[in-house]
Subunit: 244 residues, 2 copies
């Protein structure tokens, strides 16, 4: 499995992905799921992937190979909507190619993508690409998407984040959401890849890899765990009729 | 869907169930999923159910009808292990009966049960009954079970609860786990049924129903939400290399 989250907020974009892939419990490996395309001063397109690794790798490879070519590519599309269409179309192309040989053998070749960024003067946008290749876009009401093993980490985002949340707070919220998921589910694991983009900057950040044992991440996990237990013990005692 | 949690701790047992059932989004109803069997001074057996409602209702009906009869029943079994076997066996009987008529039509008739309580001098025990009718028992290492829509509410339990947690704190933890689930998932809903049992008391509590708008529950939901956002904003800022 996999867990990726992306947020499109007033101040900019936050992307975090884990890096664990598994096919059964004895076939675990580390693969990057956060991919950066861009030209400083002109565009940033971030693509996160979840699902069948063969499919998602092929999609990312094709997107990379075509950069700068005559074909439609992420370096040339005029806006993020076209970028989302291109990723969805490339996904359809790969699945059709791989299923087309009739060797699918019942394996689920599907994957999902999150595509976010900013191109030129357009505001930052974020899309959630379904395994069918179609997609939805984030709004101020629903400013974030998750793909993969999303349930464990959803409550903290639902409670603590909105469109107006500052980037720094949103990044902390995303990291805690990953910590919650990693603690409760073996198929999501360290290291984490993250990227924060300030709206309007048209920079292409390198992103950051949070390794196992990273001092900041360990610090906030511990502080969060201690704080939660403290918070729970400060809640008032249940009234008497709760007990009998 | 459904969400039920049960905890077997040093001080006793905590059971909480939601009450929403749904077959599609336009077929929602309220059904109790926490069932109490017992004789004060002698035994308490609590059964929680998740899964196909026709199956779980039939199982509970048969368990009730047989109380006091010549057949094996929850009022006569000598220990909790036999109670778990009886529930598992009754589940197998119902599924075999309903599938036996060849009208299953591909519908999943399965359900899961949590069976916990205390009989006589035996210590309190807790079992998780699988749809196949077999089961596992809680231990000090793993003192709780969930059935149904369990992922949203698992992180808070994993972080904040252990075998030594006092009953009051465990009940608050379970209620917060339900709040997290209800906020993130439409198929789990109010009211909640809960029961707290003090180890060794051999009482048969009536339990309590937490209605929508219950003052205590609303209070702790709000306090928890505010506290979480506060806790998140008190975490240290991410270091500079997280940003570029």
């Amino acid at each position: 499995m996999t867990y990726c989250v992306a947020m499109n907020l007033a101040q900019g974009l936050v992307f975090v992905s884990d890096s664990r892939t598994n096919a059964g419990v004895d076939n675990i490996a580390t693969f990057r799921k956060l991919h950066i395309f861009g030209t400083p001063g002109e565009r940033l397109v971030v693509v996160q992937s979840a699902g069948n690794l063969a499919t998602s790798q092929s999609v990312i490879s094709l997107l990379r190979h075509r950069m700068g070519s005559e074909e439609a590519n992420l370096g040339a599309v005029e806006n993020l909507f076209e970028a989302a269409r291109l990723v969805g179309g490339t996904l359809q192309e790969v699945v059709e190619h791989d299923v087309g040989n009739g060797q699918g053998q019942g394996v689920d070749l599907g994957c999902s993508f999150l595509v976010g960024g900013q191109i030129g003067q357009e505001i930052p946008r974020l899309f959630n690409i379904y395994p069918q290749g179609n997609f939805i876009e984030s709004t101020r009401d629903t400013p974030y998407f998750q793909i993969g093993e999303s349930k464990y980490g959803k409550p903290i985002i639902d409670r603590a984040m909105s469109y107006a949340t500052p980037l720094e707070q949103a990044l902390r919220c995303a990291l805690i959401s990953f910590d919650s998921t990693i603690r409760s589910n073996l198929s999501v694991g360290m290291p984490l890849d993250l990227l924060v983009y300030r709206a309007g900057s048209l920079e292409v950040p390198a992103g950051f890899r949070v390794q196992e044992g990273d001092a900041y991440f360990e610090g906030i996990r511990n502080q969060w765990g201690t704080g939660l237990r403290q918070l729970l013990s400060e809640l008032p005692a249940p009234p008497g009729d709760y007990w009998y």
